[in-house]
Amino acid sequence: MDAVNIALGVLFTTPAIFAAFAGVAYGIVGGAMPGISPSVAMALLVPFTLTMDPTTAIILLASVYVGAEYGGSIPAILINTPGTNAAAATTIDGYALHQQGRGGEALGISLMAGVVGGLVGVIALVVLTEPLAKLALAFTPPAYFALGILSLSVIASLTEGSLVKGLISGVIGLMIATIGSDPISGVTRFTFGIPEVYGGINFILIMMGVFAVSELLIQVSLVDRERAGRDTRIKLPSLKSWKRLWLPVSVGSGMGIFEGITPGGGGAVASFLSYNEAKRWSRHPEEFGKGSIEGIAAPEAANNTVAGTALIPTLSFGIPGSNSTAVLLGALLVHGMQPGPMLFTQNPDVMYGLYGGLFVANIAQLAIGMLIMTPCIWLVNRPKRYRLAIIYALVFSGVYSIDNSAFDLIIVLMAGVLGYVMKLLKFPMLPLVLGLMLGYMVEANFRRSLMVSSGDPIIFFQDPISLGLLVLSGLMIFGSAIWPALKKLYRQRTAAS
């Protein structure tokens, strides 16, 4: 009951409700603009949250995530261009429906599926985060070390592209994480005598660079796309269509819960998997690809569920489940909060306020989603050169305002060029971000463990949690290394027979 009281207290005595509404509205617009992923939209907003109290700031950012996941489906349906990666699956049936003149209906399904999926995600968040955070209390240094290794190996093997590229990307992140002071002795490393980096490099700066700046650099080289028609009106699904929609929405939400908790999955993986599953379970699989309403409901429910569930590992263990939650984690740190078991005892108002704010955000999404349609399409249709110029200005003024440091601008630009080159060479970005965020955790806990055991590495195999997680990571890496070979062998066999 205490938790409910705190949540209500936060909602009615702070600007939390406004933050939730504003966050969703901004998120929908951001998500609708191709090139602005939810993580970019959130990163752009972080500097503006610095003067807010932590609860309002975190609710605002989490609401942006919610809104952006729906917003991504607008251009996916209207112009066959996903606004976000997670909306890529929605283009298949969404655009087909739009061509049949049923674009408004498609948008309505996307919105409703998103609201239902989002609410399921928040419920999962409320139910699972606190027990997991309590479990984290039993994590000793060797267990935390093993958890970091597992997260890195899951990510390296699950993200798109080759295993080797994933590992390289992760190592680049780990290397950036070593800049600054040594976690155990406090001696500075790789700072080249530059005092600005003595304390390490702020995660947010790297994320602004590799997500926002690199995307802007790529956008410059692309031609302007088709424009969206301005006369589309949202039509919410009727009771009759709900009879067909509940199954794909449940499939999407279930997949969203699973993928959100597993680091490395994220919304894009969840929406494609749930699209395939919904097709398999559907009574009308033949409609998929030609304008099936189920083909929109499943991925859109999935990516909005992930917006809630990806916060679970972020808040309980400090391991972000997606790019967007990595930005949110960076923002938590900027506001002086450490994720983990202490978050509930030290900042209960932030935690329960966030739950309340997310409920509000998901419900508000319904009204805002309908109202914001027209201005949103207008903004998306502005010429690219104006849009990009404004976003550049936002990025750099925002970065400067974090610490009023011109040096930070240099870091962001360098990270942007790094991200641009990596994207051109098709390196996945998530391993880099996770390497950066987990580098400290892995290194500090490795050395702390050895200090506890007086230098004996057996401690990593004596701790049961550590042993289990390390075995799992071994299987993960080994498995993904031999998986392509196994698949090939199987195909040859079946072809031969």
Partner: protein
């Protein structure tokens, strides 16, 4: 604890950026005094300053507002303060952070370029262990470490923190062979104590009182010259003979160099009245702050000693950055 801080100060938060009611204006040389902090809005230091600004305004006879020179862990604040007008209108809320920054990050302007005016409070540090720990006092823990070389594990906050410095000092004085394991911050250390990774930890009472009241932790000793009013049964490290003198975290005001002596005297007088104010006293006792008034002369000497002991610790242990 933060809960308490928030509750106590939610009233203050209502009047965000509010100017405390000005009493008799003619007494102080300027109408408005600004206290700058390097902490972010909403942080513990910020809330503390907002709480103190009302009584200070009352006794100083001037408006007192809180503003931010955030970033660089005090580096920016020292640079701005060094060139601020020396008429008693601008002060910097001091904590040991700016000294750590001066020594380790070597900014252009350091603690040498500013002057110390008054001290208000000490932040008491305590030794603590899990509630079911076999140790009753910090002396038991130290004796165990001396008798069993290589077996004991003590936890400190970050590598360059005062908490680690305290433990290293005791370890050296007693010749104990014990692993002192640094953590990212006080919260990380608390988890390590709770799950048994380390035997004991050191931290600010303000951050620990919640867990102590909940019965999860027990205090083993106080790192202060005298016992604390909120923990009257817990002996001090000096009583137990664990250490011979103590280094304490402080909270006061610094200003630019060259503030006239008469102005300083007015602030000193107001500071003593603020600490004696019965309403404010209730507030700071709840926050586990120990009044530690020092006038300018005493405060300058105290900070000088603090800098010396920190610099020596960093040199002895090769710490070059936080």
């Amino acid at each position: 604890m933060r809960q308490v801080v928030r509750n106590t100060l939610s009233a203050v938060a209502l009047s965000l950026f509010a100017i405390a009611p000005a009493a008799a204006q003619e007494a102080y040389p300027v109408d408005t005094v600004t206290i700058y902090t390097h902490s972010k809005p909403g942080s513990g230091s910020d809330l503390f300053l907002r709480a103190i600004s009302a009584p200070l305004a009352k006794y100083l006879g001037a408006n007192v507002i809180v503003d931010y020179w955030a970033g660089g862990s005090g580096a920016k604040a020292m640079a701005n303060l060094a060139v601020a007008p020396a008429d008693g209108s601008a002060f910097y809320a001091t904590t040991p952070t700016h000294i750590t920054t001066s020594l380790l990050s070597k900014p252009d302007k350091t603690y040498k370029d500013i002057d110390y005016i008054v001290n208000f409070f000490y932040d008491p540090e305590i030794f603590y262990a899990k509630a079911d720990s076999p140790f009753k006092t910090i002396k038991d823990a130290v004796d165990f470490a001396v008798a069993n070389p290589g077996k004991a594990k003590w936890g400190g906050a970050s590598a360059g923190s005062l908490e680690r410095q305290i433990l290293e000092k005791i370890k050296k004085a007693k010749g104990a062979e014990v692993a002192i394991i640094p953590h990212e911050d006080g919260a990380g250390l608390l988890i390590s104590v709770l799950n048994g990774t380390v035997d004991i930890g050191v931290g600010e009472l303000a951050e620990l009182s919640g867990q102590i009241e909940a019965g999860e932790l027990k205090p083993l000793g106080v790192y202060m010259p005298e016992r604390l009013p909120n923990l009257p049964d817990v002996p001090t490290a000096l009583e137990l003979g664990v250490d011979s003198d103590v280094i304490i975290k402080f909270r006061g005001l610094a200003g630019p160099k060259g503030i006239p002596a008469e102005t300083v005297a007015l602030i000193e007088a107001a500071a003593q009245k603020v600490l004696a104010d019965p309403d404010f006293k209730k507030e700071y006792e709840k926050l586990n702050l120990i009044p530690g008034y020092m006038g300018q002369e005493e405060y300058r000497g105290y900070v000088g000693k603090f800098v010396e002991s920190q610099a020596k610790f960093y040199e002895d242990f090769g710490v070059t950055a936080e």
